[in-house]
């Protein structure tokens, strides 16, 4: 446990140190916003990957895999494929266009009053949605590792990130993010590889791939429940409220499952595609669509493309990102498999999000497991810090640039004030919404991004006839339908096994075509902007060509 604290402090300290070094380099306003646009493709790619690999990637994928099965493995595919669509359609043109933020792009491409404000409002909404779960993850992790109160982890990460962003801006953050990418890859890969070598293969194979449920070992099992849980005992089908306290299982007894989890045999659990449940083809395709198109619309990802020196460098950066993400995403599945074998008590406590943190000590008792657990904890902290920093940069940039603009000399101070203020609301929300499921907020952010900024960018970049009115109406329609569906799904508790329930939980399949359709139909009826030819030239003419 002390080891874990040391590792977390070391990584956090190193991040602060690099951030401070970045401050000395960050002198001009341009440094703060876009790192003077002179970051090399490798640095930029590591920074983008560092920023993107969030709590959802580091802890969430393995946690969902333990909870629902191998269908969670589609998530990394969607997360990475999102970057490929970004490369194919928007990376180079957006960089050439030369705006600081998405609201800048929206207003320059579609000159209309209100366009900037609408885009800025959506940026703040998506960033906020995404920032809250990062802070919550920090609170949960610090609690799991050290036993500290939940609010402490939230407060620590909120404070460090706000300081780092306010002082270093984008340039300091670029180096911090790049550093944190390598921390994360190391922290997830090394323990996974060493554990597999130590174990010499996967244990409990019947419960992983065969016709068995996870069961207590030959000497039984003791599960500590922090709160009272409604448990289903698969052997007898009995449902009982148990705890708080210790629950003893007889040798060979199947591990009970908490509310919201189905007891699955290894065979059902390990299929990426299934007849029903999370692995049903409809849900898999809807999830792929949301992640696929949502990535492009995440504001903290797009703002980073402006730090490339030119459009061609933006393309090269994105290709490197694809490689770096792929290297990371091989490993969450390993923790999912090991987690089902070694920490089946998580099915009873429902705390599957902590599986990555718990597997090393459970699979390799003694000091080696503790050292590896400390490494993993440090990586998890790097994950919250880097994603939260990127989100805060985009929040502060949007507030100080679009919502509450300042004259030239005041800009830097305004950016810093916005960074400090921008952290207060999400941090309070994270403290207040401890009970809300993390994946709900993340899913909403992706669905919102896919049904607003994704059509705006795709049509804005490639279709000259897009009109401001059509774009605004489409974004509003997409945002309203995505939000409405998720809210309706939460209220009605519709089962994801039905087609309607699946669409409510994962509305991208509905809201994205609707947003595109609205934009196209309304634009066809209106007249495109007058100087659209010049705008299109700015998007598509390569930099080295003097026109």
């Amino acid at each position: 446990m002390t080891l874990a604290i040391v590792a977390v402090v070391a990584v956090t300290g190193a991040a602060l140190g690099i951030g401070t070094w970045g401050v000395r380099v960050a002198r001009t306003t341009s440094d703060l916003f876009v790192a003077s646009r002179a970051v090399s493709p490798w640095w930029n790619a590591a920074a983008i990957s560092g920023e993107y690999l969030s709590a959802a990637s580091f802890l969430g994928v393995a946690g969902l895999m333990v909870k629902f099965g191998a269908s969670a493995l589609w998530l990394p595919i969607g997360f990475t494929a999102g970057y490929l669509t970004l490369l194919l359609f928007v990376a180079a043109p957006l960089r050439r266009f030369g705006s600081y933020t998405i609201p800048d792009f929206a207003e320059a491409r579609l000159p209309a009053r209100g366009m900037r404000v609408l885009a800025a409002a959506i940026v703040l909404l998506i960033s906020g949605c995404y920032l809250v779960p990062q802070l919550k993850g920090a609170g949960v992790t610090l609690r799991a590792v050290t036993g500290s109160p939940y609010w402490l982890g939230v407060a620590i990460v909120a404070l460090i990130v706000a300081l780092n962003v306010a002082l270093g801006g984008m340039r300091g953050i670029t180096y911090v993010q790049a550093f944190q990418y390598w921390v994360k890859v190391f922290a997830i890969a090394l323990p996974a590889i060493l554990l597999l070598i130590h174990l010499g293969g996967l244990p409990a194979r019947a419960a992983l791939f065969g016709n068995e449920l996870p069961r207590a070992g030959a000497s039984g099992m003791v599960i500590t429940l922090d709160e009272a849980e409604t448990l289903t005992f698969p052997d007898t089908g009995a449902v009982r409220v148990v705890g708080p306290g210790e629950l003893r299982l007889a040798p060979g007894e199947a591990v009970p499952v908490a509310e919201g989890i189905d007891a699955q045999t290894g065979e059902e659990w390990s299929r990426p595609v299934n007849e029903t449940g999370r692995g049903s083809p409809l849900l898999v395709y809807s999830l792929l669509l949301a992640t696929f198109l949502g990535t492009m619309g995440l504001p903290h990802i797009l703002v980073r493309f402006y730090t490339n020196p030119d459009g061609s460098a933006a393309r090269r950066t994105t290709v490197r990102v694809l490689g770096l993400l792929g290297a990371f995403y091989v490993f969450p599945g390993v923790y999912g498999l090991l987690g089902r074998a070694f920490t089946p008590e998580l099915y009873a406590t429902g705390d599957t999000d902590s599986v990555v943190l718990r597997v090393p000590s459970a699979a390799w008792p003694g000091w080696p497991g503790d050292v590896l657990a400390a490494v993993v904890a440090a990586g998890a902290f790097a994950a919250f810090m880097s994603t939260a920093s990127g989100l805060l940069v985009s929040i502060a940039g949007t507030v100080s640039h679009d919502v509450w603009p300042a004259r030239r000399r005041m800009r830097r101070r305004r950016f810093r004030a916005a960074a400090a203020l921008g952290m207060i609301a999400p941090a309070s929300l994270a403290l207040a919404t401890r009970e809300v499921d993390i994946s709900v907020l993340v899913g909403w952010a992706f669905a919102l991004a896919a049904s607003t900024f994704c059509p705006l960018l795709l049509l804005g970049v490639w279709w000259p006839r897009l009109t401001p009115f059509g774009a605004a109406a489409g974004m509003l329609a997409g945002a309203v339908v995505a939000t409405g569906a998720i809210t309706a799904g939460l209220i009605s508790h519709a089962s994801e096994d039905t087609a309607v329930g699946a669409l409510l939980a994962q509305p991208a399949a509905l809201s994205v075509p609707l947003a595109f359709g609205t934009m196209v139909l309304l634009s066809l009826r209106g007249r495109p902007a007058r100087d659209v030819a010049a705008t299109m030239a700015a998007l598509h003419v390569p930099e080295r060509v003097p026109v």
């Binding site: 299929r271 459009g311 299109m536």
Partner: protein, 93 residues
């Protein structure tokens, strides 16, 4: 409409065609994967290093595929940009 506009429109079309082609390539491969696994449940009994084949198929091959398609697209797109630049250079001379 000037000759520049004509060339620029052609460049935009070519870039868009290249992007759509790449999208079809990787969308087809990744989009077919869930369907293949759904239609061939027997793949689950084939094991590699003790892990069922479907898990391998989902965890490993998509990522090199993304990288390869991205790399090819980037080279081709840069080449299209360069050709456009040369063409404009010829006109000016």
């Amino acid at each position: 409409m000037s000759i520049l506009d004509v060339y620029l429109r052609r460049l935009r079309r070519e870039q868009l065609r290249l992007s759509l082609l790449s999208l079809v390539a990787f969308g087809g491969a990744i989009g077919a994967l869930p369907l293949i696994l759904y239609l061939l449940p027997g793949l689950h009994d084939v094991q590699l290093l003790g892990v069922p084949l479907p898990i391998w198929l989902v965890v490993v091959p998509p990522f090199p595929l993304f990288f390869a398609i991205g790399w090819l697209e980037q080279r081709r797109a840069d080449a299209l940009d360069a050709a456009f630049g040369e063409m404009l250079g010829d006109i000016e001379q």
